[in-house]
Every structure is written in structure tokens, then in C-alpha cells.
């Protein structure tokens, strides 16, 4: 009998809020993060970086550095693999510059020395001759005729002829006839929107400790969202066999997408190979800003037509994403997410991936979606305002639901947008009175969520407790969720399960912790691995009782005889079976390896009240409510945490955070003092409502929740500020100077 634990109600453990298993380690300081590892004989490394936005590297002279007391190795691009192309070629080029430095902060050489102080002194002694080239950092400027070409020949086949070589990918989709749709509208609003690049802003800088021998075998410890990916990339960059490099993921001090790629690990390994000693490499905060992350900046045009009753007749969007000096800006996802919440007869969206002399963009929580929502939901707010329509009723009227043809093609399965919007409408926040100087903003948000390659292994111990090995780094409490799901299937207490993030030598390939996939995919794999173990437990009971395996079922931690044998035998508890497993067939383990493809999309809607100080232009968020469909909240407290964290990051993006480049192409604010993320005194409490419309693609109904929460805030806050000041805010961040300008333009108008 195939065991199937699928259910969406009647849970014993799922949906409860136990303490996280790594809590004690994290409050006592003993949890080991990336920079907390040390090895005997370890060297410290530092990286030499380009001060120029765009420059040809004429010569690198390392002789003075190598002559310094305590310096053990220096590497440049010559110490890495050659002939890499595509994704790995781009990553290596970003990890260590080849012929050209492509942005301010691009690595050009690295040193390993007996102390961090010596390593830092030694990189100053490396002399690099540059031929400075013209640069461009703005997305619109980079597309103009005459703009400096970052890398010729980088464009792929998707790009139409006649565009600047910096446009490296192009995306287009839609259906219907938008011109006909606009002709049916009573009001058409078209506007231009701009967002700046922001950084993921994890508090833990990238850090690793690598050992690599001349035999091609290596060990790597690093903070990453995906250590199998690190293994694969490092092996390619260093010319190793993948399996010969074992990678262990440390506790991770935040990632938000920014630790889904590789920046420093191949450098530490190359230095280690040369020095024949372990090498530790930790980025400084300034290096984190200059050379890791950030997200794309955007330039966007959105046009929407609406009838007087609120029906959207057509929607069109053009989204230009600046992705730094490499292809990869998420222009497809921006375009696909833009109108996803709405049931549209006529829709058309276009995305451009544009290179510039900035660091290679990295994923940041629902990459590309928050910017699209900012533009689209601002236009919808403007339409509702001008037509005197309720913003929630209007969104409900046009909402995507099961069976709707999505704006980018597929037909929606069961989704929870309508339930989410109805929960917003029912929330007391939605009708609470506003004070003078305050405005309210609403926005929807959408993210796909993801499945991906996943392997989980579960081993039972003789005492009936269980060890679960998963391969997705725990970035926000996922070990607790895995233990809850395993407990539900095994019928043993949450506390009897220990979940470990396994290293690359222990499990099959696990895709990165990204795409809000962990609770969905590793959760599904944990459930299936537990079912596999239960099947074997039932088999041992059946053998003991001398009845067929399919005449045994599992309930609350017991094997029980069923059907004609019901009541013939005393139920066997898990620990009675495991106590003798060595003599009844050997260890009992469950495992699961697959690529689950039933990830359920998630929609959210946020309500924001903002208050604007008319004298300073400073905006304060005074009340914030997040409503989002989680499918099924396995550990509701951590789901709330994801909702709140996404909202807070969105508040920073909307109001303060931006990469500021000087005319020299250098980043002007590479530190937390000048790149200001929200602090405790900036924020109110963030209210949350968990909507649960089960995902049919997960045994317990889980949808991912981590990313969707950052999709609505930019627009919701911009709508709140626009409604407070009476001027449409079209550019982020809405820093005080920009709001003051808007207030002045309103006064002049």
C-alpha cells in the first residue's frame, strides 16, 4: 500500500509554534557562521579591487607584495581555469577580472598571509597599471547610441536587431490587442517610473575557509544559500572534479538571494592550493556593497486603461533593468510578474536586460517583482483615484483566480488572491480613520515560487528518534518546519527529531535555498522520506506478525494491523520496532530524491499608512498590515516573520536605500552609515494575516512565503505617500529631498 500523508486539516504538529531547534546556539553565541571557522595553520586572505568603473588591466606587479614577511601566496586570473563560457565563465570573470575591470570594486588580485593585517597591507603593495575606459552606470544611458560597450558580443539571440550591444536579453509576452483594449477604456493612465539599485543588506559579510591540495581534493566551509552550487562553480573555476570538493554550509547570517552565487570561495581555494595551507577569506562591509549583490535598478513605462466601473480593459508595460557588467538582470520575471494579479483580456509586456559598469546584480527576494508592482500598482492607484473607485473593490473586480489565463501565458490553478483581498477588506486597518498629513496605500504582489532538485534522508535511531538530513541551508527557521512535517508523518514528538543541514558529500544535489522553495520542496521531500521510513516500519511489523505488509497501517507513531487482522495484534510503537531493527533487517531509513514541480504561487496585499512631515519631507510609516496566502503555515510564527521581514526590507527600498554613483563611476555610499537600512526606531509593529488556500502540489498545502512579502511594499508605500502629499511619486527611494520637491511642485501647481 502506497502511504500518502496528504491532508490540509486535522494536523497534530503542523501549525503549532514550538521553539526552533537552533535557538539555544543562536542566543548563546555558539552558532557557527561563515567567519567563525578556524583551522590549524590557517592563513588570512584579502582581495585587491579596482578603483575604476571601467579599465583595461595593462599589468599587475605582485613582486613587492610577495616579498613581504608573512605573505604566502598571491593569485591573479592566471591562477584559475581557462576556457569557461556562459554562466560559469561570467562568474569567474566576476570573481577575478581578466582583461578588464568592469566596475568599481572588481577583484583583480588576492593575497594570503599569516595575519589579516599583513594581508591587508600586502594588497596595497600590489601595483596595477590601468588604461581607464569610458563608463556608464545608468540604465537608460547604457541603452543610448554611443554609450560605452561593456562587453561586445554578450547579447543573446533574444535581442532584436538595432539595439545597443549593452542590451543583452529581451523578453516579450502577452495576449489580445492592447490598442483595441485602450480604445474601450474610459480613462487611460500612462506613466514612467524609476527605481534605484538596492542591496540585500544581510548583516553577515561573505566568508569562507577553504583548503585545497595539489591532489585536487578540497574542503570548503562557507556561508551560502546553496553549497552544491558553490561546489559546482568552484570546481569549474579551479579545474577540479566536482566530487573531490566537499562543501559544508555554515549557519548563514542572512542572504535574501545575495548568497545564491559565488564571489570569494574560488579565491580562497586558489590561494590555498598555492600556499598549501587553509585560507580564510572574509569580505569587509565596503566590499559587500561594492562587489556583491545588489539588485537591478529600473526604468519602466506602464500604461493601463480602465472603465468607469473599474474594469481594466488593457495593460502594457516596458521594463528596463540594469544588471551590472554581466547578463542576468531578471527582466523576464519583472515583465511576467507585472500584471500577474489581474485577469486581462489585452496585455503586453516587454523586458530589457541591460549591462552597465556596476557590480553583477544578484537575486534579491522575488527578483524583479517589487519594481514591476511599484509601477503597475501606482498606475492602478492613480486610476482608482481619478475614477473615484475603491482600491480593493477594483482589484477584486479584476483579480486573477482559478482558470484565469495569466498575463504571461499559463492558466492559473487554485490560487488565493481573492481570499487575500477579501481579508484586506475585512481588516480593521482598511477602514481605520487617517490623521491629517497621512495617506493610505494598497498594493498587490505576486511571486511564482519554485521547486527544484531536492534530496532528503531520514534515519531512525534505536530509541525511535529520527535524524533528518536536508540540503537547503536554513535561512530563517526551516529546520523547525522540517521537524514539524517529519513529526506529523512519523507520529513522534517534534523534539524527537533532529534536522541537520548536510554537506555535499552526504546527499544528492540540492538546489539553492531560493525561490521560496525550502518549506515547499525540502518539506515535501522530508514528508516523502518519512513516509518511506514508515513504509519500512510497517514492513517490519508485518513480518513480526506474519501478515501481509499492506495489512498494516501507521497511526500516531504505532504500526497497527488493519482489515481482517484488525485487533489481532497489539500495536507496535516506533521505538519497539527500531530497538530490534538490527536483527530484523538492518537500519531503517527513508529518503527522497526528485525535482518537485508543484510549487504554488503566492499573492499578497499590503495596507500602509504613511505620514509625511511637510517641513522636512521625511516619511514615517505609522501602520502596516501584511496579508498573504501561505497555502499552509507549517510554523506560523516563522511565516509571520517572513511577512514582517519582507515588509521591512520593502520599507527601506521605498524610503531610503539606494546605490549612489558619482560621475567617476564609483559607489559613493559603500557602508551602513550612508546606505541606511531601516533601524528599530524607523518602524512600527507590522501586523500580519496568514491566508491559507492550500497548494495542491504539496502534501500539506504549502506555498512558499519568503519572497512575495517584498513585492507589494514599494507600491503600497508610494501610494500612501502619494495620497498623503497629493502628488504621484514615480521615483524611488522617496527620500526627504525627493518628497520636498514633490510638495513644492504641488504648491506651484
Amino acid at each position: 500500500m502506497a502511504l500518502d500523508s496528504s491532508k490540509t486539516t486535522g494536523f497534530k504538529y503542523v501549525g503549532t509554534r514550538p521553539n526552533r531547534p537552533d535557538g539555544l546556539d543562536k542566543v548563546t553565541g555558539r552558532a557557527k557562521f561563515g567567519a567563525d571557522a578556524y583551522a590549524p595553520g590557517m592563513l588570512h586572505a584579502a582581495i585587491k579591487r579596482s578603483p575604476h568603473a571601467h579599465a583595461r588591466i595593462i599589468k599587475i606587479d605582485t613582486s613587492k607584495a610577495l616579498a613581504m614577511e608573512g605573505v604566502k601566496a598571491v593569485v591573479t586570473r592566471a591562477d584559475f581555469a581557462t576556457g569557461l563560457e556562459g554562466e560559469f565563465g561570467d562568474i569567474l570573470e566576476n570573481v577575478m577580472a581578466g582583461e578588464k575591470a568592469l566596475y568599481d570594486g572588481h577583484a583583480v588580485a588576492a593575497v594570503a598571509a599569516t595575519s589579516a593585517l599583513i594581508a591587508r597591507d600586502a594588497i596595497k603593495a600590489i601595483e596595477v597599471d590601468y588604461e581607464i575606459l569610458p563608463h556608464v552606470t545608468d540604465v537608460d544611458a547604457a541603452m543610448q547610441a554611443g554609450a560605452p560597450v561593456i562587453r561586445a558580443g554578450a547579447a543573446d539571440a533574444s535581442v532584436p536587431e538595432g539595439l545597443h550591444p549593452n542590451v543583452v536579453r529581451y523578453y516579450e509576452s502577452g495576449h489580445g490587442d492592447v490598442e483595441a483594449g485602450f480604445a474601450e477604456a474610459d480613462l487611460v493612465v500612462e506613466d514612467h517610473f524609476v527605481t534605484e539599485a538596492t542591496h540585500q543588506g544581510y548583516i553577515e559579510p561573505h566568508a569562507c575557509l577553504g583548503t585545497l591540495g595539489s591532489d585536487g581534493k578540497g574542503e570548503l566551509w562557507c556561508c551560502t544559500q546553496g553549497h552544491w552550487y558553490v561546489q559546482k562553480v568552484c570546481a569549474a573555476c579551479l579545474g577540479l572534479e566536482t566530487s573531490q570538493l566537499r562543501v559544508t554550509a555554515s549557519e548563514i547570517g542572512g542572504g535574501f538571494g545575495g548568497k545564491t552565487t559565488v564571489f570569494i570561495e574560488p579565491v580562497a581555494l586558489a590561494l590555498s592550493r598555492k600556499a598549501n595551507r587553509p585560507v580564510k577569506l572574509v569580505m569587509t562591509r565596503s566590499e559587500v556593497f561594492r562587489a556583491s549583490g545588489p539588485t537591478s535598478s529600473t526604468s519602466m513605462d506602464v500604461k493601463i486603461g480602465m472603465k468607469k466601473d473599474g474594469t481594466i480593459t488593457a495593460a502594457q508595460g516596458t521594463f528596463r533593468l540594469q544588471g551590472g557588467a554581466f547578463p542576468g538582470a531578471p527582466c523576464e520575471m519583472t515583465a511576467m510578474c507585472a500584471f500577474a494579479p489581474y485577469d486581462l483580456k489585452h496585455v503586453h509586456q516587454v523586458g530589457y536586460d541591460v549591462m552597465s559598469n556596476r557590480p553583477k546584480q544578484a537575486a534579491y527576494r522575488a527578483p524583479g517583482s517589487p519594481m514591476a508592482a511599484f509601477a503597475v500598482e501606482s498606475v492602478i492607484d492613480e486610476l482608482c483615484g481619478q475614477l473615484g473607485l475603491d482600491p480593493i473593490d477594483t482589484r477584486l473586480k479584476n483579480a486573477s483566480r482559478e482558470g484565469t489565463r495569466a498575463s504571461f501565458g499559463p492558466t492559473w490553478p487554485r490560487i488565493g488572491l481573492v481570499e487575500t483581498l477579501e481579508a484586506v477588506k475585512a481588516h480593521p486597518h482598511y477602514v481605520a480613520p487617517l490623521k491629517k498629513g497621512q495617506g493610505r496605500g494598497i498594493s498587490c504582489g505576486f511571486w511564482f515560487n519554485h521547486g527544484g532538485e531536492t534530496a532528503v534522508s531520514l534515519a531512525l535511531s534505536e530509541d525511535g528518534s529520527a535524524q533528518v538530513a536536508v540540503g537547503t541551508p536554513d535561512i530563517g527557521g526551516s529546520r523547525a518546519s522540517m521537524a514539524l512535517m517529519a513529526a506529523e508523518v512519523l507520529g513522534i514528538p517534534y523534539e524527537d527529531i533532529r534536522v541537520t543541514i548536510a554537506d555535499t558529500a552526504t546527499l544528492g544535489y540540492n538546489e539553492i535555498s531560493h525561490g521560496s522553495r525550502v518549506t515547499y520542496a525540502s518539506g515535501l521531500a522530508t514528508i516523502k522520506a518519512a513516509e518511506d521510513a514508515v513504509q519500512k516500519l510497517c514492513g517490519r511489523a508485518a513480518a513480526k506478525w506474519g501478515i501481509p505488509e499492506d495489512a498494516v497501517y501507521w497511526e500516531d507513531g504505532y504500526a497497527k494491523p488493519s482489515g481482517p487482522n484488525a485487533g489481532d495484534f497489539e500495536p507496535l510503537h516506533i521505538d519497539e520496532i527500531t530497538a530490534t531493527m538490527g536483527a530484523t533487517g538492518g537500519p531503517i531509513c527513508g529518503h527522497f530524491e526528485a525535482t518537485p514541480e508543484g510549487a504554488g504561487v503566492s499573492f499578497a496585499a499590503h495596507i500602509v499608512d504613511a505620514e509625511v512631515d511637510p517641513d522636512t519631507g521625511k516619511t514615517s510609516v505609522v501602520r502596516y498590515t501584511v496579508v498573504q496566502d501561505a497555502g499552509k503555515a507549517i510554523h506560523p510564527t516563522y511565516v509571520e516573520g517572513q511577512f514582517q521581514g519582507g515588509a521591512a526590507q520593502g520599507i527601506g527600498w521605498a524610503l531610503n536605500e539606494e546605490y549612489i554613483y558619482g560621475a567617476d563611476g564609483r559607489l559613493q555610499n559603500a557602508g551602513f552609515l550612508d546606505y541606511r537600512i531601516p533601524v528599530a526606531s524607523d518602524l512600527p509593529m507590522i501586523d500580519t494575516v496568514i491566508v491559507e488556500v492550500p497548494n495542491p502540489g504539496h502534501p500539506f498545502g504549502v506555498r512558499g512565503v519568503g519572497e512575495t512579502s517584498i513585492c507589494p511594499p514599494l507600491a503600497a508605500i508610494a501610494n500612501a505617500v502619494s495620497n498623503a502629499v497629493g502628488v504621484r511619486m514615480r521615483q524611488l527611494p522617496m527620500r526627504p529631498s525627493r518628497v520636498l520637491e514633490a510638495l513644492e511642485s504641488a504648491a506651484d501647481g
Binding site: 593585517l117 553577515e204 559579510p205 547570517g253 562591509r285 516573520g641 552609515l673 526606531s681
Partner: protein, 159 residues
């Protein structure tokens, strides 16, 4: 470069070390004393992940030199629990899920413990402004503030 001999107390234990005059107190705690609870998030005093107390005063250990620890009493996150008994703040942070990744947690615990010793009955605003020097990127601070307020209330009742 010659090193300086320093004698200090960390979490009540006398320790000695040699350090380069350029090393920060954070470098010394982590690399020489192997107390890695304090984290370097920025190295410029902006994030608070390296918060420790020096003679009872809250400081960013990345902004102080190791040699300045001579004769002082340093308190780090490793010294907050008493034996196997967690400090009420540590217990509440776990219960409230006041951490996601946990990298800022040591600094926030050191900072809030210092706050409650100074002001056992803080308002929400006072907690928020006291913690304005401790960046957390995961939580939006909501659950942290609630954990601190509840700890303060419980400690007041117990005293």
C-alpha cells in the same frame, strides 16, 4: 610590528593576550580568545553586531582597540547565561522567534541586557531607540521588540 601584552577580564575570567596595536577588541575577542559570539557586520560601528560591554558600558567592539581592554571588564554574549540557565532575554528571544538568521542576535542581546539593567521599565519607543544601533535585516524588529518588552515585564514581576 611588536605586540603589546594585555591583561583583562572577559565574562569574569582573567585573560592575557598579545596583540598588534592595530587590532580591534573584536579582532582580539574572536581571533585570539576564540569568543566568536560577537560578529563583525560592518567594522565601522554602524550595525551593532559586535556589541559588548566594557566596565558595564555598551560599546561596539569593532571601534575599540584590543590594547584598550587593559584592566577592563569585558562582557560578551557568551557570558549572559548562568551555567545551564538562560537569561530571561535569551529564553524570550527563542520563544518569540525574535531571530531568523541569528547573526544580529548576540549584539542585540548584549544591548538589551544593558538597557534593562539601566531601565527595567522601558516604553516601546525607548526600546526602539536604544536598539537603533543594532541592525537586523530579517525580522523587521517586531518580534524583537515584543520579546524585550515581555522580558522586562517578567523581570519586573520577578524582582
Amino acid at each position: 610590528m611588536s605586540k603589546t601584552h594585555v591583561t583583562t577580564k572577559v565574562n569574569g575570567d582573567e585573560v592575557e593576550f598579545l596583540c598588534d596595536p592595530r587590532e580591534t577588541l573584536l579582532d582580539v575577542l574572536r581571533d585570539r580568545l576564540h569568543l566568536t559570539g560577537a560578529k563583525e557586520g560592518c567594522g565601522t560601528g554602524d550595525c551593532g553586531a559586535c556589541s559588548v560591554t566594557v566596565d558595564g558600558r555598551l560599546v561596539c567592539s569593532c571601534l575599540m582597540l584590543g590594547v584598550e581592554a587593559e584592566g577592563k571588564e569585558i562582557g560578551t554574549v557568551e557570558g549572559i547565561a548562568e551555567g545551564e540557565t538562560l537569561h530571561p532575554l535569551q529564553q524570550k528571544f527563542i520563544e518569540y522567534a525574535a531571530l531568523q538568521c541569528g547573526i544580529c542576535t548576540p549584539g542585540i542581546l548584549v544591548a538589551t541586557k544593558a538597557l534593562l539593567e539601566k531601565n527595567p521599565d522601558p516604553t516601546e519607543s525607548e526600546v526602539r531607540y536604544w536598539l537603533a544601533g543594532n541592525l537586523c535585516r530579517c525580522t523587521g524588529y517586531d518580534k524583537i521588540i515584543r520579546a524585550v518588552m515581555d522580558t522586562a515585564a517578567e523581570m519586573r514581576e520577578a524582582s
